[in-house]
Every structure is written in C-alpha cells, then in structure tokens.
Amino acid sequence: MNKYRTIVAALALFALAAPLAHAKEVTLLNVSYDPTRELYEQYNASFSKYWKGKTGEDVTIKQSHGGSGKQARTVIDGLPADVVTLALAGDIDAIATNGKLLPVNWQSRLPHNSAPYTSTIVFLVRKGNPKNIKDWGDLVRPGISVITPNPKTSGGARWNYLAAWAWAKQQPGGSDATAKDYVRKLFKNVPVLDTGARGSTTTFVQRGIGDVLLAWENEAFLSIKELGADKVQIVVPSLSILSEPPVAVVDKVVLRRGTRAVATEYLNHLYSPEAQEIIAQNFYRPIDETVAAKHAGQFPKIKLVTIADFGGWAKAQKEHFADGGVFDQIYAPE
C-alpha cells in the first residue's frame, strides 16, 4: 500500500466516523410510557443544563411516548432508544430477553431496582362523585362505566388490572377464581380500551366518557391541576399497588451511537435531589427520603401490594397478560 492509498483510506475512515462522533455530542432518545411527557420535558431541560456544566457538551434529549408495552416492542423492532423509562420492569425484561439489547440483570444496575420514582393507582371521578364510587367493589356495579387502557399495550393498565385483582383476592372468601370473576365483571364495564394511559385520560376527561378512570396517581393529580378541582376529583381506594416504573440504558444502542456516558449519567441524575424535586413536582413519589418527606402531604397513604405479591413481573406477565393468559380469557371486545 503506497502512501496515497494510506492517506485516502484514513480520510475515508475519518469521513465515516465523523457522523458518529457528531451523534455522540448531541442527542439522546428517551423512549418512555404515556404519562411521563411533562416529567421528562422538565427533567430534560434540567439535565441538559447539568451536563453542559459538567462536560461542556450540548445534549438534546428527544422523547417518545406511548403505551409501555407498545413502546417496548418498538424498541425491540429497532427504534434506537438510548434509554428506556417504561411503566414496568416486565417491558424492559422483554427488551432484554426478546431484543437482546441489554443484559437481563439490567434492574440491578441502578438503585431501588432501577426505579427512581414510584406511583400507584387511584380513581378519578367526576366532580361530586355522582355515582358514589368509593372502592373497587363499586366498579362492577351495573351501569358504572370504567375507563382503563388495554393491558396488552399499556403498563398502567396492567398495574390497574393487578390492583383490582389484589383487592378482589383480599375480600372475604377471596381466591384466584373470585378475583378472575371480579376482573371479568370489571372489564365488562369498560366501554373502550385505549392503547395507553394518556389516551384513557383523554377518553375520560376530554371526551366525557365513563364514570371513573383508573389512573396513575400522577396522571390523576395532573388532570386536576389542568382541569381544576371543580371538574374531577380523586377517590383513593382501600387498597392499591406500588408501581415502580423502571429506567435502563439500552446497551447495544449506546454502544453503536457512542452515547453510553451521557445516557448513563442521564439516568443516574434522576436520583439526585434536584431531579427528585422535579419528580415530586410532577406528582410521582420520590425515592429520596428528604424530598419525599417534604412532599409527603400531597400523597395519600394507601395500603399497597407489590408486584412481588404476584411472584414478580415474569410470572404475572405469563399468567395474566401473555397470549392465552387470564386477560385473554376474561375479556372479549364488544
């Protein structure tokens, strides 16, 4: 190889590498679930400022939102997410096992099972609670119209479903059979299934459909903040579920795009007091004890079950939401 050929080959390599280097400097894609739009808009601005101060680099974070399960499938199908911030661990498990885009032990890489905030499921009803809905049992009364998204596509919907199941099972004489019968009746009262939680909020709030919305706590608070307390109100059920929306770096994507450092810091920074404050302001329950104590008054105290009560997400997913699972058995669209 003569010197010219060496020079040309080097220039060609440089030219090929240039866009990769360029990509490393500027963009991250955060693929998230439906109701986190406002949270991450605020957090992204804060993180960009933090990263600029720390490294001098400009970083722009793009957001993608949708039903958590649907978002996971999109990432598996090739959407180049640097980070995923989804509604439940089972969806990131799917990216790890089906897409092989990150290791299966991803949840142990960040504190608190990689969940920098938690939330729970509450009821949102029309102002004055005209149908007198107080607890899960009221949702299966004749004539009650319940709004919840589709558990096949929405993480929030799966939390709703499991909370309902847990309540039914804890009733006197409760069993898997009575719980199954309960959720069958519950979904008979669901007139329309959206693909994500934000879609269900639209159905309930903007389209005026239904008597009660099974909602993320943060989504319920946000609805009241945006609509005003004279339109809707929150009903706290006797029992709900601790939902731990997890976050993870998508290793294969950050490796390819050269964004591992900034993507990792983007998630680590979620645990900082500054980010935890933003989390609380957006009605998610912060992990940081100091910030949680400061905002304790805004979150009702509820008896909570956890996903561990269902044997973990893998088991719950297989039993309830996989093809042929309980949900497929109890729900038939009209």
Partner: protein, 475 residues
C-alpha cells in the same frame, strides 16, 4: 266537602307533577345514556382512525413505476430497495470494404440487472452485474454515504469522475456507442471519491483515488489481475462541473453546464503489464495500438514491447447545453502519457506522447420533448389503438482522435507501427432514436470514419462505415 275536593285536586296535581318530574328524570337519564353510547362509538372510531394511521405510517411501501423500476421502501423512506434493469440488443453491419464480414453480428451489448437502494437515509448502494457478450462482469459495486449534499463518500467500483459522455448513463446516451473522447478517459475503477453538490447542484465536485486503468478501460480489464491494482501506483482523479443557471428562472440558460475533469498517475508499467490502451473506431474495431500490444495466448511478450513508464495526465474540458427540444454536448480530452520501449536498434527510447480526442454532438426531439443530459419523459407513448407514436429524436455528431506524431517517429524503433496503427481517426455520424415509451427504445446509427495512416506503405486505412441498431429495454 269543598275542602275535601280542593285537597283531592291538590293531591292529584301534586301526583301528576311528581309523575312528570319522574318522567323528566327518566328521560334525562336515558338521554345521558344515549349520549354516552354515542361518545363511546365516536371514541372507538377515533381510536380506530389513530390505529389505522399508525399502521399506515409503519407499513412498507411497494411501488412499480416505469422510471424508477420496482421499489420497496420503509414508510419513512429511509430504507429503500430498488430493482432496475437494462437490456440492450444490438445489430452491427459494416457496408465497407475494410471490416471483416465476421463483424456483422447480433450481440447482447448490455444485460444488467441493477440492485440499488438506501439504508438509514444516508447510505446508498448499487450492485450491477453485466451478463452481456458471453461473460459476467461486475460493472458497479459501491456504497455512497451522503452525509451532506456537499459531502458524499463513495467507495467501491464505479465510474471515475472524468469524461462527460462516460458519466452519462448507458440508457441516456444519444448514440449507440460513445465517442472518441470516452476512449481516452477511464471507465469504471476501484477506489474512493469524496464530493457532492454545492448550492443545490450549481457546483458539483469530486476528488478520488483509484487503482488506475488505461485509457477507456475498466478495472475488470486490468492485467494480469482484473479488478485489482497492477502497478502499485494509484490514479488521482478530480472533476468540477458548473450549472450556474440550474436553479434560476432563466429558461434560455438553465440547461447550460460546463466543467473540467482529469487524472494523474506516475505509473510504472513493464513489458508484461504495459498499462497502455488500444483505441477503437465508432464501429468498435481497433485502429490504434502500441507496438507489441498483441501477444498470443501463452506466448511470452517480446522485450521490445512498449509500456507506460512515467506520468500519465489526462484532462478534459467539457460542456453541454440544452434549450427546449435542442441539445448539444461537447468534450475534449488530452492524455499525456510517458512511454518506454527497448528498441531493436536504438536502445531504450522514452517519450511523452500527447493523444487528443474531441467530439460535438447535436440532438433534437422532432416530437417536441425537452432535451436533457439525464433522462426525459416522452410526450406520448407508442399505441396503435390511440394513434400515438412516442418520441422521435434525431442526432448527429462529429469526432476526432489524434495520436501524437512522435508515436510513429523512428521507423522500426517507433512506439507504434504506422502500417497498422492509424495516426488519426475522424468520424461523422447520424442517428435516430425512437422512444416507444420511457422503457423501450429503438435506435439506428450510421457512422463513417476516415483515417490518416494505418495502412501499408504510408497509405490511409480505408473508411469504416458502420450501421448499428439497438433495441433497448430499461426500467
């Protein structure tokens, strides 16, 4: 009694009022229930619509069109796969006294399925095998990364950016065979270029580095190893082309383009790898080659074979212009080649030979279509039922190729044999192209070529008269 009657009446009225209120309440509930049902139906339709849009936005698109061939592309157009093809069936007839009768023939000139596409919206690729003339050759195999319009990196085997008519697609050239200037510029070669368009194509530039090929040649013709470097010296190539009025409203000047291209190498040939070309007539018959160019299969080349030994510089000013249905294309090529020969009686001789070629060609659509350097759309398609005839184009050209006189100096010690190699060829030609539609074309060309030298005792080689025809299919 009156009191009782009044009380009864009051009770009746109250009862009737209560019943009316109940009815009203019932009606209101039923109305609300109906409203809910309507809202639910509307919402379901809305969700269906959203789902349909989402599906459409991610569904790949399959297209088949006369111009672009067959195409599969992702919904966002970032990933495209196209299947195209070129099939050209030629007839060659020589109504002269010089060309052997065996050259009258039918032949498949080009049989090229073309697989090309784009990945991630940036990375173009093309693979073009050619199965014509009883052999298989990879004509194009390259990747082009379009980082910016002005910054495209192309690597692989493709046309070297020098000659104007050479860079015109085989389906767009106006004559069946390209003219003499194309014989002096490289065809396809293996290498890397960096270039692109500036100001929306007003300026196009390319700078590249290639293995290097002899005049008019492709790297698949390299010896001893096709599609590989054979002299350790690569060729630099560069071209800049201007279309200053490309994006202007000036109709009269919009079709003007001009530029210059060239190559440079300091090559080291040998008697086994001469790196020297021979030149062909418009009838594709060889009329010039250096001494010792022809070696019998299995024979050892003679020690007095001429070979490239030093710098080879090509440069080519070029231009085209089109206005309405009229177009003109012109180019000039000079190749300055250092050669060496160990002569029989004068020792080792070296010289720098300057060979030149030029052409001017005219084209005119009698059916009124607009002339263009790249492609065009017939105003009508051939249809007996509709009584339409497609597009008819008349073409004419004049061309010359002049060999440096020093190539013939020195008698038996010369670099070229004047008894077999002509020192100059001049040709005029006319032709008709009948475009039945965008995909099907019939052409006929008639070229007459006169020579200086090339025959025994200083005589001129007789004129060549070539009548070529072509049936071509492209998609």
């Amino acid at each position: 009694m009156r009191i009782a009657t009044a009380v009864s009446a009051t009770l009746l009225l109250a009862s009737a009022g209560a019943a009316a209120a109940d009815d009203l309440s019932d009606l209101r509930e039923r109305l609300e229930a109906q409203e809910q049902k309507i809202r639910v139906l509307e919402r379901k339709l809305e969700l269906q619509d959203e789902a349909t849009k989402a599906t459409v936005s991610s569904t790949p698109v399959v297209r088949a069109s006369p111009q672009q061939g067959f195409r599969i592309q992702s919904a966002d157009s970032q990933n495209v796969l196209r299947l195209r093809g070129v099939l050209q069936f030629d007839g060659r007839y020589f109504p002269d006294d010089i060309t052997p009768a065996t050259q009258d023939t039918w032949l498949l000139r080009r049989v090229r399925p073309i697989l090309e596409g784009t990945l991630n919206g940036i990375y173009d690729f093309r693979f073009t095998p050619d199965f014509a003339q009883g052999k298989t050759v990879v004509q194009d195999a390259y990747i082009a990364a379009r980082f910016k319009p002005w910054a495209t990196l192309t690597a692989g085997k493709f046309k070297v950016p020098v000659g104007l008519e050479r860079l015109q697609s085989a389906t767009d050239i106006r004559f069946i065979e390209r003219a003499f200037p194309t014989s002096l510029v490289p065809n396809r070669d293996l290498g890397v270029t960096f270039g692109g368009d500036i100001s929306g194509g007003v300026v196009n530039y390319a700078v590249g580095y290639f293995n290097g090929v002899s005049d008019g040649g492709s790297s698949d013709g390299n010896t001893p190893t096709p599609d590989a470097e054979n002299d350790t010296k690569g060729d630099w190539a560069a071209r800049v082309f201007f279309q200053p009025f490309l994006n202007s409203d000036n109709f009269a000047l919009r079709g003007l383009g001009f530029g210059v291209g060239g190559t440079y190498v300091d090559s080291t040939g040998s008697i086994t790898t001469t790196l020297l070309p021979s030149y062909r007539t418009p009838g594709q018959q060889s009329f010039f080659s250096y001494r010792g160019a022809t070696v019998a299969v299995g024979a050892t080349p003679g020690p007095d074979r001429v070979f490239a030994d030093g710098e080879r510089v090509r440069w080519s000013p070029q231009a085209y212009y089109s206005i309405g249905s009229f177009g003109v294309l012109g180019e000039y090529v000079n190749v300055s080649q250092d050669v060496t020969r160990e002569t029989p009686t004068a020792g080792v001789r070296s010289a720098t030979l300057d060979n030149t070629a030029w052409q001017v060609q005219l084209a005119w659509f009698a059916t009124g279509e607009d002339e263009s350097f790249r492609g065009f759309t017939p105003g009508s398609v051939f249809s007996l039922d509709a009584g339409t005839w497609g597009a008819l184009e008349f073409v004419a050209r004049y061309q010359e190729l002049d060999i440096d006189d020093d190539a013939f100096a020195g008698g038996s010690n010369s670099f070229a044999n004047p008894d077999t190699a002509a020192s100059k060829a001049s040709a005029w030609g006319v032709g008709i192209n009948w475009y039945f539609n965008q995909n099907y074309k019939w052409s006929i060309n008639y070229d007459v070529t006169s020579f200086e030298g090339g025959a025994a005792a200083g005589a001129d080689r007789p004129d060549e008269k070539a009548l070529f025809t072509r049936i071509g299919l492209q998609f």
